[in-house]
Symmetry: C2
Subunit: 294 residues, 2 copies
C-alpha cells in the first residue's frame, strides 16, 4: 500500500491566478475524497496578504465534513498553528526550507530558526494531540542558491530528525530532482531518523515527477503528495508546472502492482473538474488519454 | 555512456499535421547533429500514400551530409529496404509488431510473417554491409488487442532473437509501459538474446517516459530513442503525445551522472525550432523552464 496525499486544495490552489470560492474548495475536498484518497491537505494558515488564494483557510477548515478522511493544513509558524487548531485541524504540515536564502524570503527565518519554530509547534502538538509532519522544502535544489549540497541537506535532515515529528517529507519544491537524488537523500533521511514515516512532495516541472515517485516508493517512502490535474506551480520558478498529477501517479503505481486505494477513473473525472474551474489545461497526461487497458 | 538516438525526423514528423519541406527536414537533421547526437533516424521508406509526410525519403537520404553521424531509416519490407539502400542508407530499423492485429493493420502481415520479412532483410544486410536493427513494436501494449501478455512477448522476442540482428529495440508504441514492465521485458529479451545491444523507444503518452528511460538504462539498455521537443504521436492512439523529449532525457540522465554526449542548451534550442516549424507546443518540459542549475 502506497498512500497518496491529495494536496490540490493547498499547493494546487495557492499559485493559480484564479481563486476558487470557499464553496468550490469544499467541493474539491469532497471530490478528492471520492477518488478514494485517505488524507487531504486542505489549506494553509499563512498570511492572507501573501497568499490571498487561501485567505479563507479557517472557513474551509471549519466546514470540512466528518467522513473519516484525514485533513491536514500547512502552517509556517506558531501563529498559523494556533489558527489551524482553533479551526479544528488535527494534523499540520510544517516547513523547514533547506537553504537559508529561500527560508528568509519565504518565512523570514534562517533554516536553523525554522527548525526551532517547528520544535515549538511539535511541543504544542503533543500537548494538543495534533499530528505534526515536517517538510524539508527545497531538499533537492533552491531557486536562489541553486544546488543544495548533500552535506547541507544532511545537516538539515539531522536537525529535523531531532524534532522527532510524526512524519518527515522531502519536497522537490522547484522540480529539479532526479531519481538518484531521491534515493540518496531519502537514504540520508533514514540514517538520521530510522523508522520515521517518510513522505515525498514532487513537482513535475522537468518531467521527472513520475520517475522520482517510483524511486521514492522503492526507497521506502510511504506517502506521496499529488494534485488532481497536476495543478499548481511554484511562484519562485517561472514556467514551473505544478505537483505531479494524482491521476498520473495512480496509473503508474497501479500498473506496477502497488495499491493506492484510489480509483483512476474518478481521479481523471475530478482532475478535469478542477482544471475546468481554474481555467487551466490538464498538466497530468492521464486526463487527456485515459488509462490502459481501457 | 548512454546513447540517445534522435528520431524526430522519422517518428516525430510522420504523425504531424504539417509536413516539413525536404530542406527543413535536412535542417532538422543538421540541428540534431549540433546537439551532439551520434545517430539520427532520418526517415522511413514506407508507402507514400500511407505516410505522405515522409514521401521524400529518398531525397532526404541522398542529401545527408557526410559528417560522421550515423543515419538510420525505418523500413517495413524488402522493397523499402531496397529503396533505402539505393538512396545510400547504411543502417535500417525494421519492425516486428508484437500483436497480430496491429501487425496486420500496420504492414499487412502477421507477427510471424513479419519476422520472416526481417530475416530476409537481415540476410541482405549482411550481403550489402548494411546494419540491421529490429524493433519489437507494441512490446508493452497494443492499441487493438490491449494487453500483450508476457508469454506472447517472450515468444516474439525469441523469434526476433533468432534473426540475430545488430540491435534489438523494444518500443512502447502507444505509451502504456511502466518501469516494472521495462525491467521485466528487457530481462526476457536479454535471456533470449544474450549480449545483443538493447535499445528502447518510448512515448510519453502517460507521463511515464522518463521513468521508463531510467529503468531501461538501469536494465542495461544502451540506446534510447528520443525526439527534440517530444514531437510526434501515434495515429492509433488518439490524444497520444509523441516520443519522450530529447531535452528531458538529457536533463535527467546528466543529473543522474550518465553521459550522453549531448548539450542540453543546444537540445532546447533545436526543440524550440522544430516545434515552431511544426506549429505545435513543446511536449517536453525542459524547453519551457530550462535546466538546473542555470
Amino acid at each position: 500500500m502506497v498512500e497518496i496525499v491529495e494536496v490540490s486544495p493547498r499547493d494546487g490552489l495557492q499559485n493559480e491566478d484564479r481563486t476558487l470560492s470557499t464553496e468550490d474548495k469544499l467541493e474539491l475536498v469532497e471530490r478528492a475524497a471520492r477518488t478514494g484518497v485517505r488524507r487531504v491537505e486542505v489549506t494553509s494558515f499563512v498570511r492572507p496578504d501573501r497568499v490571498p488564494q487561501l485567505a479563507d483557510a479557517a472557513e474551509v477548515a471549519k466546514a470540512l465534513p466528518d467522513n473519516g478522511i484525514g485533513y491536514s493544513a500547512l502552517v509556517l509558524n506558531v501563529r498559523g498553528y494556533q489558527r489551524a487548531v482553533e479551526a479544528g485541524i488535527r494534523e499540520v504540515t510544517t516547513l523547514v526550507l533547506a537553504s537559508d536564502t529561500f527560508s528568509e524570503r519565504n518565512q523570514g527565518t534562517t533554516t536553523r530558526e525554522a527548525v526551532e519554530v517547528v520544535r515549538e509547534i511539535r511541543r504544542r502538538g503533543r500537548e494538543d494531540g495534533v499530528r505534526v509532519a515536517i517538510t524539508i522544502g527545497a531538499s533537492f535544489g533552491c531557486p536562489f542558491e541553486g544546488e543544495v549540497p548533500e552535506s547541507r541537506f544532511a545537516g538539515v535532515a539531522a536537525a529535523v530528525a531531532d524534532v522527532d515529528a510524526d512524519e518527515v517529507s522531502l519536497a522537490d519544491t522547484i522540480g529539479v530532482a532526479v531519481p538518484s537524488d531521491i534515493e540518496t537523500r531519502f537514504g540520508l533521511l533514514r540514517e538520521c531518523a530510522p523508522g520515521v514515516p517518510m513522505r515525498v512532495h514532487l513537482h513535475d516541472t522537468r518531467n521527472t515527477g513520475v520517475a522520482n515517485a517510483v524511486a521514492a516508493v522503492r526507497s521506502g517512502v510511504q506517502a506521496l503528495d499529488a494534485s488532481l490535474g497536476g495543478i499548481g506551480g511554484c511562484p519562485f520558478a517561472p514556467g514551473a508546472s505544478g505537483n505531479v498529477a494524482t491521476e498520473d501517479l495512480v496509473y503508474t503505481l497501479h500498473r506496477m502492482g502497488f495499491d493506492t486505494g484510489l480509483d483512476l477513473g474518478a481521479a481523471i473525472e475530478h482532475a478535469r473538474w478542477v482544471t475546468g474551474k481554474l481555467g487551466v489545461p490538464l498538466s497530468g497526461r492521464l486526463g487527456r488519454v485515459g488509462g490502459f487497458p481501457t
